[in-house]
Symmetry: D2
Amino acid sequence: MKKLIIIILLFAAVNFTGVGQRKIVNLPDLPGYVTLKCDFHLHTVFSDGNVWPTVRVDEAWRDGLDAISITDHLEYTPKKDFIPVDHNAAWKIAENYARDRNLILVHGTEITRNMPPGHFNALFIQDASLIAVDSVWDAFAAAIKQGAFLQWNHPGWRSQEPDGIPKLYDMHRKLLQNKWLHGIEFFNDSEYYPLVMTFCKQYNLTVIANSDNHGVISEKYKEPAYTNRPMTLAFAKARTHDALKEAMFAGRTLAYFKDMLAGKEEYAKPFFYQCISVGKPYYENEKSIYFEIVNRSDVPFYLINGVPESPASITLPANSITRVVVSRKAALPLVYDVKNIITGEDEVLKVELTFK
Amino acid sequence: MKKLIIIILLFAAVNFTGVGQRKIVNLPDLPGYVTLKCDFHLHTVFSDGNVWPTVRVDEAWRDGLDAISITDHLEYTPKKDFIPVDHNAAWKIAENYARDRNLILVHGTEITRNMPPGHFNALFIQDASLIAVDSVWDAFAAAIKQGAFLQWNHPGWRSQEPDGIPKLYDMHRKLLQNKWLHGIEFFNDSEYYPLVMTFCKQYNLTVIANSDNHGVISEKYKEPAYTNRPMTLAFAKARTHDALKEAMFAGRTLAYFKDMLAGKEEYAKPFFYQCISVGKPYYENEKSIYFEIVNRSDVPFYLINGVPESPASITLPANSITRVVVSRKAALPLVYDVKNIITGEDEVLKVELTFK
Amino acid sequence: MKKLIIIILLFAAVNFTGVGQRKIVNLPDLPGYVTLKCDFHLHTVFSDGNVWPTVRVDEAWRDGLDAISITDHLEYTPKKDFIPVDHNAAWKIAENYARDRNLILVHGTEITRNMPPGHFNALFIQDASLIAVDSVWDAFAAAIKQGAFLQWNHPGWRSQEPDGIPKLYDMHRKLLQNKWLHGIEFFNDSEYYPLVMTFCKQYNLTVIANSDNHGVISEKYKEPAYTNRPMTLAFAKARTHDALKEAMFAGRTLAYFKDMLAGKEEYAKPFFYQCISVGKPYYENEKSIYFEIVNRSDVPFYLINGVPESPASITLPANSITRVVVSRKAALPLVYDVKNIITGEDEVLKVELTFK
Amino acid sequence: MKKLIIIILLFAAVNFTGVGQRKIVNLPDLPGYVTLKCDFHLHTVFSDGNVWPTVRVDEAWRDGLDAISITDHLEYTPKKDFIPVDHNAAWKIAENYARDRNLILVHGTEITRNMPPGHFNALFIQDASLIAVDSVWDAFAAAIKQGAFLQWNHPGWRSQEPDGIPKLYDMHRKLLQNKWLHGIEFFNDSEYYPLVMTFCKQYNLTVIANSDNHGVISEKYKEPAYTNRPMTLAFAKARTHDALKEAMFAGRTLAYFKDMLAGKEEYAKPFFYQCISVGKPYYENEKSIYFEIVNRSDVPFYLINGVPESPASITLPANSITRVVVSRKAALPLVYDVKNIITGEDEVLKVELTFK
């Protein structure tokens, strides 16, 4: 009798299901494209990470991502006394595991050198071991030969650039001339580099956000400090490995982290308008117009620099409806800067709020 | 210098906006109808509640409701030594306040008698003071004369029915004969009464969920015990006071509380199918079929009684995607009982899962 | 059978107990004194607040406070069309209710005038109605005649001082000359006024933190923005109404809000040392000393300005143990500024960390 | 200018400190003993776990534990295609890492056989590789030769005992006769086995709770399902490796998981009284006595079976103060069963509540 009571106690909080659940990440598609949520920079015990490759798949699946790449260092394998070096091990272990979970696994690796040129991920490759060569230029060539998307990682990392500012060295210019450099990380881990926007616009490169995680994702990116992990939003023609590759080479991305988006205006602007909808005024009087703005995305938007007679700033929290009362004297449509959508080194997105 | 540091410290967590935000309640519309989230049973300092009427509007707005009714007791006004009795006071105070917030305010009151007949809310009235009469039957008549929707409150409340089981007394049968009774609370506060489903189906009454709150909503309905307050989902032709009234008289509702829905199968079934979508299999092999079920609603669904060779149970948490692997031997489509959608005193909804 | 399952579902999260629970606020006593947690500024429906007086008692009890005062405005009663003015109503309603909950209720009221002199609370009074007189000086005199502790409220409130900076006007100087002014709010709601520290030290006044709440405490002070409500820590000889009064007149307080403490160094310093303990080194080698610092209080401490060879800053989160590794070259004991313990307008507490 | 704004945005939530913080686990010491919080059953990539050994140290340190043992399977090493088998690898990797963090690391391993005899941890060993022998009895002997504490793991694990009930087979009886068996897991992961209490009392064995974790601790044991990981509370004469070993052989433990404690009454009773204190009545009238019970521990206590005229049940939530009102007719001291302190297969702890 007492035992029964005790058993119920313990049982109550346990949820048996035999199936798994993942989060829905509320980030809209763009017209004609599906928005794939990706993290292209992750480590495991096969370089200096602390988890088994399947953990990266489980984390990404749970977090609602569509694609990841495990990119262990080629040149830095501090666990080699216990784990023999095998640059394709993570791929071999995770490949079917990802397929069974409907997660796109991108074969990748990290070319890890001093600055210049620094660290680079080679993505969409076939065999990482062929890229493990002495000369960094040979390594780049070997990656490109496999059709790799070459991504410059954390270009302003303070361990390599003490002032935190990315710089284009000769090697980078040579990569650009060869069209061998395809993207740069704007966000890496909890850092970001405004100048990357200038590079990406000038040389037509893809803007990227990755976690570069070595430990446990859920222990790093948790509330209240972080509501989400860094991710690259790739606007692909379909939810497939090849469509993702095409989108990355075409530069159709936004970089997303915390409450910030960064990328080219041509993607940032329609993305914003897909996230929010401005309702028809529900009440008006001689003085004011009352209406609601719905933000159905996980990204809050901070509208600032309102013109006179309109609200100076409007916060549109993630997944919520905001009530706005504006004076009849305000010029319509309302125009704002979106403080947390970065479209250039010194530039944020400008938007208009038009009643439905 | 130090002052500056201190000021930043304090400032960081404060969010100035000048506008207000409300929650999005993820409960889908039905084809041809908008789903209005309503709480028709609330108290204020004008009877035995502890808050001012505007608090009820603010709470409902923040919680994403579409409509409320403040229903102070006519016959129980324990604060009258400090607050003179005025049965329409809450309405007068809250009317414009609700309009400015795009919330539908339903004029209501509670007729408060011993059992039988117990407590009843008169909703959609014009003047509560005219219903404050000695004879309960006269009170009912006065309400009906105003076109009231008459709702029987917490029919199994243990203070009035010690065994917790609702009973139809002569007075109730007389109300039914007169077509004066229109709905019954299935959920009230944190209680519920399975027998109400039988009454509602037998006499064609509206199934209702209300909070009957006297204190502060956010202090009662909070995690981990409660993810949401009780609410009646009314399927209305538009988001207006009159369309809501029409829906309530027509009985187009579901009662919603915690992780439970209760109501007639004709509304429960399409509502379930609006909440979930079953994806096309993303992987198959000789043994198994792999697919995902998306639940875009705030209601988790507990599927049980799976047939042999299919998962015995599947949990579809609120706002998440569930991965399911089924044997090729399983009979398709998969059929399940939804444990937390109550369609009768002893009955839950049966559903089919069909690939898109 | 199915009903049983359903009933268990609903029951699981409901906690019936018949008794009530309150939070333990982890703030240590000082040697010879008990630390009473107090909020001396609260409103109800009897002025411009939105809750019944018993709600203030319930909130304070749940939040682990020892004492409160309900201080409705004498001169501002916007609900008087529905609630007749009675300046002692809140006291009469809450007195026994507080006694039954082991909460010290301080009879108080708010004298509410334009600046100068602004708003003042009269605390520890007997009859608020006697203070409701035309001349503000007469009101002060009537309060003092009842033995009141006179507290200047939010002296830099921007509605009365557009630059946010408190100013001593003639009326304030006259109050100081008469010894009629006893304390000033350093924290009010989510504001604070650094200059108050200068006034309190110069004129030997009591430093105070109050919520000045008009709505619902738990809706305002909640995570992640706020971990706690503002409160005055009074160091009293016993947990009684009269000992609290003595402590307030004697100026033995600290003002506490969010992650900040403010007050005189003579109380701030021993309070800090009661909160933390520095462990004996648990490991040492040629280069470094390893030890732990325990912070058993709800207040995090931010140690900054470490000397060379010692950590530049150390964060001691609330209720946690911090591991510190210091170089053998560091000068012992370690000295730091505690960024969030304010002891003057431009001054924070300086502390030493000495191994046990 | 805009860049500045953006930088502050990102910076706000990031907490740089250079030192680490751990949780305080509020579980009191017993008179004469320190309470060491231990998890003696953990896996890593060196058997079938998914994390690197240092992760186990970091997790335990953060969770406020005092001691752990990493106990990779000797006979089950599914990652051997990628990681060569080394039964002491985890120990070698974690030893200094634990020392630097003030965590006691117990050298251990898991002997992993079919039932009978099932799985056993050998704790406090020197060399796991010597225990990796064919015959299970030889393995036991090799462990005992190293002075091992032998712990029977999850004796009712359904993969080995389909009915979930632990059974003593010949091998177990032989171990008992030899005095080679020292303890049994009452809690393992989220399971527990009431019968273990009977075995432990009959044969004077140590009652143990372990996580047996293979993945990430923080992803398994999190709210709302779990407030803490399973842990063995060992009452040791000092916080040292050797004192812990002595306590374990002496059987001075309680097993702790979720909101349950299990163990011998001689430890459970004083532990309960160290957790709670009953205050002196703060108010009395003709009918009732009002007092408070403080529970300063992380364990809630559910008091049930109150005698007539006293509350039928009292819940004492973790780290809180409970207000109790008892009738003057109640027999004092109040006596209760503590539903969640298990002292036998069918037995819970009985306690008395005496005013201070």
